[in-house]
């Protein structure tokens, strides 16, 4: 019956060099996997595979490490997968590997990798600039648009965090004249570690009593800083924002230690990447406005001047009121 038919025609298609989408092997490579962010992404990936019956799965390295990620991708190339959807730890080091991938005829879709050249397409929930500005808007609002602030990143060696932070600072200079960047410590590190974020924040607030805001980027920043604010008894006097997952930060938001956090839903991003990969594999032409039939990615536009970077409108603000409404 059915199965048999399928088999025969799929084999015919193979013969004619054509693959039906069920045969595509599509791998999503996140930065790492213990970060709830990418755990969430994996749920999205798996849901999508379920719904569509695609052979799509997520495979990450055991530590967040640029070289490991590059080697994993190389392994996937050697293995001959059909498409690789990657969230690069570090665009520069993945670049030559992606080049190999494309030379091997593999479709490459990236996320959070706007600067990448060797990709078919890069999907951004929004532009890094946009997101940086977006975080800054939240911070400014919390701070009442005046006061001294500084920026926190996982590491000064982290690509996208630093882009967001830079963009945030840019945005502040244009839009919030009464906010001033703490010149002595314009950027500090949290090492993607809530405890470091906590200690660093304490030090900052000790040394710079007039510091009023800390712009976080990594999802570990805001919670860590918030702990410091709470302990030092500065709730309501010092503010922080950053990226964060609803479930993880519900309490902090409700306690008012953090006014609001920003994010986009990694699950949707994952789905979007796969969806795009499929249409590229199917040889469909990709042109804006692009609808990937994934929430937040139904009206993708090319970033001006770019033929690869597609921007959606996936950013979300969470605050005490809506935090419980997301279901993740």
């Amino acid at each position: 019956g059915q199965g048999g038919a399928n088999e025969t025609d799929s084999s015919e298609e193979k013969a004619s060099g054509e693959k039906s989408s069920e045969d595509y092997e599509i791998v999503v490579v996140p930065k790492d996997s213990s970060n709830p962010w990418f755990v969430r992404m994996e749920t999205g990936v798996n849901e999508y595979a379920e719904e569509t019956g695609l052979n799509a799965y997520q495979k990450g390295t055991d530590e967040i490490d640029a070289t490991k990620q590059a080697q994993l991708v190389q392994d996937l190339i050697a293995q001959g997968v059909d498409a690789i959807c990657v969230v690069p730890v570090d665009p520069e080091s993945i670049e030559p590997v992606l080049k190999q991938a494309r030379e091997a005829g593999i479709v490459v879709i990236a996320h959070e990798g706007a600067s990448l050249e060797n990709v078919d397409y890069d999907i951004e929930a929004f532009s890094n600039q946009g997101y940086g500005a977006f975080i800054m808007d939240n911070l400014a609002e919390a701070m009442g648009e005046e006061g001294v602030y500084t920026t926190m990143v996982a590491n000064v060696t982290n690509a996208s965090h630093n882009e967001w932070a830079d963009a945030g600072v840019e945005h502040q200079k244009e839009k919030y004249p009464n906010l001033t960047l703490l010149e002595a410590e314009p950027r500090v590190e949290s090492n993607d570690n809530g405890d470091t974020a906590y200690n660093v924040a304490k030090e900052l607030l000790k040394k710079y009593p007039d510091l009023k805001g800390i712009m976080g980027t990594s999802s570990y920043d805001a919670p860590g800083v918030a702990r410091a604010i709470q302990e030092l008894g500065l709730t309501g006097k010092v503010f922080t924002t950053g990226t964060g997952m609803p479930a993880d930060n519900a309490e902090l938001l409700k306690d008012g230690v953090i006014k609001s956090l920003t994010l986009w839903d990694p699950a949707q991003a994952g789905k979007a990447m796969i969806s795009l990969a499929v249409s590229v594999l199917d040889g469909e032409t990709v042109e804006a406005p692009l609808d990937l039939e994934v929430e937040g990615y139904t009206n993708l536009q090319f970033r001006e001047g770019s033929k690869t970077v597609l921007e959606g409108e996936g950013q979300i603000i969470i605050d005490a009121d809506n935090v419980d409404s997301f279901g993740f």
């Binding site: 791998v27 080697q71 392994d75």
Partner: protein, 330 residues
């Protein structure tokens, strides 16, 4: 002759057996996805970078020392070379091929300086190598960050990466470099007096001094060798990722130690075969690549398997050495 002496070593033999077992397992389960030319070319382009670092750690461990600064040295070297290339060819420009050997000489120079520093501190102040190299590792990484503000450098002539990433008669150039270094090192360790001497120092530094060996000089030399290996490892990373950054390969520090002990080098010093370390290097890579062939197996199991293999091999060693006694105890 070579082969017999190679397989005489119990430990090495065991590594070979494990590797064969794994090879067979992969053949049964994932033949078509594992036994492909491209796959082996990939693996043999991947392991040289940490393979070289492991070789460096090995010589230090033979003298009963250790080198935790390899990754720091590697990255700083890569960064410095990248900056040099930029100043030669400009951000996007090109660079004549004859610069490449010069670049490697430059890297070797950096490695030498770094190693000499380590060796100097260890010998003149009697600081435990583990501390000196830990501190120096931080220091070198720090210098790398200062040089780059932590960002990656990728805007330099692509010619270098192009050459080192290419294949020679199907063999990845990275591997050829690794092989050359390994051969030279093997000769140094087995055929020269230096090799004999550091083995003796590893056995007893006191006796070495009383035998009139220039212990300090030999130790400094050893850490210089390690520094050079690390620097070359950095040059390969520079090619593989066509960019340099202070935090690439941070997990290589522990990994290289793991490889070295897995390769049968005694942390107490005085014992160690380069063949063992090379085998261990390849084994580690083959295991990881193999695991990556199983979508359903999380890569988290890789470290579990490494650890298990390491302990397994050690326990085998133990029983093979103590079997007589054990029989008696029964």
């Amino acid at each position: 002759m070579k082969k017999t002496s190679f397989l005489k070593d119990k430990h090495v033999k065991r590594l070979v057996i494990i590797m064969v077992l794994w090879a067979v397992f992969m053949a049964i389960t994932r033949f078509s996805k594992f036994y492909t030319v491209i796959n082996f070319q990939t693996m043999f382009a991947q392991f040289p970078e940490f393979g070289l670092m492991s070789l460096g750690v090995m010589v230090c461990m033979i003298t009963s020392g250790i080198d935790l600064s390899v990754v720091g040295v590697a990255n700083t070297t890569a960064i410095a070379s990248a900056l040099l290339m930029r100043s030669i060819g400009g951000d996007t420009g090109t660079m004549a091929v004859f610069w490449i050997p010069i670049l490697f000489l430059f890297a070797i120079l950096i490695g030498t300086v770094a190693g000499a520093l380590n060796g100097f501190l260890i010998t003149t102040f009697d600081i435990p190598p583990i501390l000196v190299t830990l501190g120096m590792g931080e220091l070198f990484t720090g210098i790398g960050i200062v040089l780059t503000n932590g960002a990656a450098i990728s805007d330099f002539p692509k010619d270098y990466a192009y050459v080192v990433n290419s294949r020679f008669a199907g063999i990845p150039v990275q591997f050829i470099i690794f092989a050359l270094v390994a051969i030279v090192l093997a000769i140094i360790l087995t055929k020269t007096t230096y090799g004999k001497k550091i083995m003796m120092i590893g056995t007893s530094q006191k006796a070495a001094r009383f035998s009139g060996l220039k212990v300090n000089y030999l130790l400094i030399k050893t850490y210089i060798i390690s520094g050079i290996c690390a620097a070359l490892g950095g040059m390969i990373m520079l090619a593989n990722y066509n960019s340099a950054r202070a935090d690439y390969g941070t997990n290589y520090t522990l990994q290289s130690i793991l490889i070295v002990v897995l390769g049968g080098v005694s942390p107490a010093g005085g014992r160690g075969k380069i063949s063992g370390v090379i085998l261990a290097t390849i084994l580690v890579r083959v295991l990881e690549t193999g695991i990556n062939r199983f979508p359903q197996i999380s890569s988290y199991y890789i470290s579990l398997i490494w650890g298990a293999v390491l302990l397994f091999v050690m326990v085998l060693d133990y029983f093979s050495e103590n079997n007589i006694k054990l029989l008696k105890r029964k």
